[in-house]
């Protein structure tokens, strides 16, 4: 998974040069028939990657099937609300005075033995998991 994410970073660089208008970078790469990586680059240089499993998931049994018609393809715009929600979550994290982004400088990472310290905020993780659960193609806002 880390290899996949790292391979996306190069595409980020390429896209950021060509696509200067929006934060949404669209489909970065399709790894195989199942997985597809979508990217979002904020103005502050923060990169978000969402990897979508194209197999989909079984619909909840109590829901009407007509409400969620079978999706064939995925448009880039479908992921916009998800990325917006992720960005909102990240902004909330940044506005938390107890979160210190300075712990993530390259020097610190080197001190941690090459491993970048992950974001451990429980609220942020929960929010991301919620976004992952709620999102489906066509959902306008999360």
């Amino acid at each position: 998974m880390t290899f996949l994410l790292n391979s996306c970073l190069d595409i980020f660089d390429l896209r950021a040069r060509t696509k200067t208008l929006d934060q949404d970078l669209g489909l970065l790469q399709a790894i195989d028939e199942r997985l597809a990586a979508y990217g979002w680059l904020t103005n502050t240089g923060i990169k978000f990657i969402i990897v979508v499993d194209m197999m989909g998931r079984p619909p909840p049994p109590d829901e009407d099937k007509r409400r969620f018609p079978a999706v064939v393809g995925l448009r880039d715009a479908d992921l916009k609300p998800a990325f917006r929600a992720v960005q909102t979550a990240y902004i909330q994290l940044m506005l938390n005075p107890f979160y210190s982004p300075d712990d993530r400088t390259p020097l610190q990472i080197a001190n941690y033995g090459g491993q970048s310290p992950e974001i451990t905020s429980k609220r942020f993780i929960n929010e991301l998991q919620r976004i992952g659960k709620v999102w489906a193609p066509g959902v306008a806002n999360i």
Binding site: T42, N43, I91, M94
Partner: protein, 268 residues
Amino acid sequence: MATITTTSSPDTFLLDAASSALVNISCFDLLLIELVPLAERMARSFEASLDKPAPAPSSAASTTSAPTTGAQTTSTKPPSSASAAPLPPTTTTTTSTSTSTSTTTATNGTATPLGTSMGGALTLAADGLPETDIFRDSVYVRLERLGFRVGEGLSERFSRDRPRFTDQLDVIKFLCKDLWTVVFKKQIDNLKTNHRGVFVLTDSRFRPFSRMSMANPAEAVARAQPHLYFPCGIIRGVLSSLGIKATVQAETTELPAATFQIKTHSAK
């Protein structure tokens, strides 16, 4: 009659949208201004805590030198090893000289700025105590770092729905127009650049300074200088999170005005 109505109904005063916004802004202004005395108090206590450990290393060194003297006494106890006896004293002397130099440097660190300020114009900080280098630096570092963190958060929050920044000038404009409006309720009045990485922002009515005045204008300017550290940090934080490494200096020559000079590092 009007005074009775205003004093008797504070609730309606607070509920009124316009005046509550005014209260908000005033509170925020007060907070911005109050940050500086807070940092100064913390710097004072930091300075005091620096003064206290200055004897502490010497005492610790004396305790470390005490075993060596004890070793010396134990070594002198067996009278046969007379050649071993001169060695420990040399070690004790080296340690004692090192401690003495450390203490002198420690005292120098606090005393020389005092002496220079005494020799000079005797600059006093806001609390009436003499302004030392340690004090000034620790106030600066503290406020600047706070501002840096705030600036990072602000830029994350307010650059969200903007199109991507194309160049440095774009970022600086964003800082002058949008962020300055957010923080100080007005835009930067004047922006100058040499197009080689140096930007000079002038705010002719800098909001924290709007109500500051003293009988002696020069003293007021000196007293107002620490209030520029936090905005400096904000600017640096915003720029760094938007991808520009820069040093920011601020100064004021006449009170309601403030000048910020931004030197970006990429354009050396």
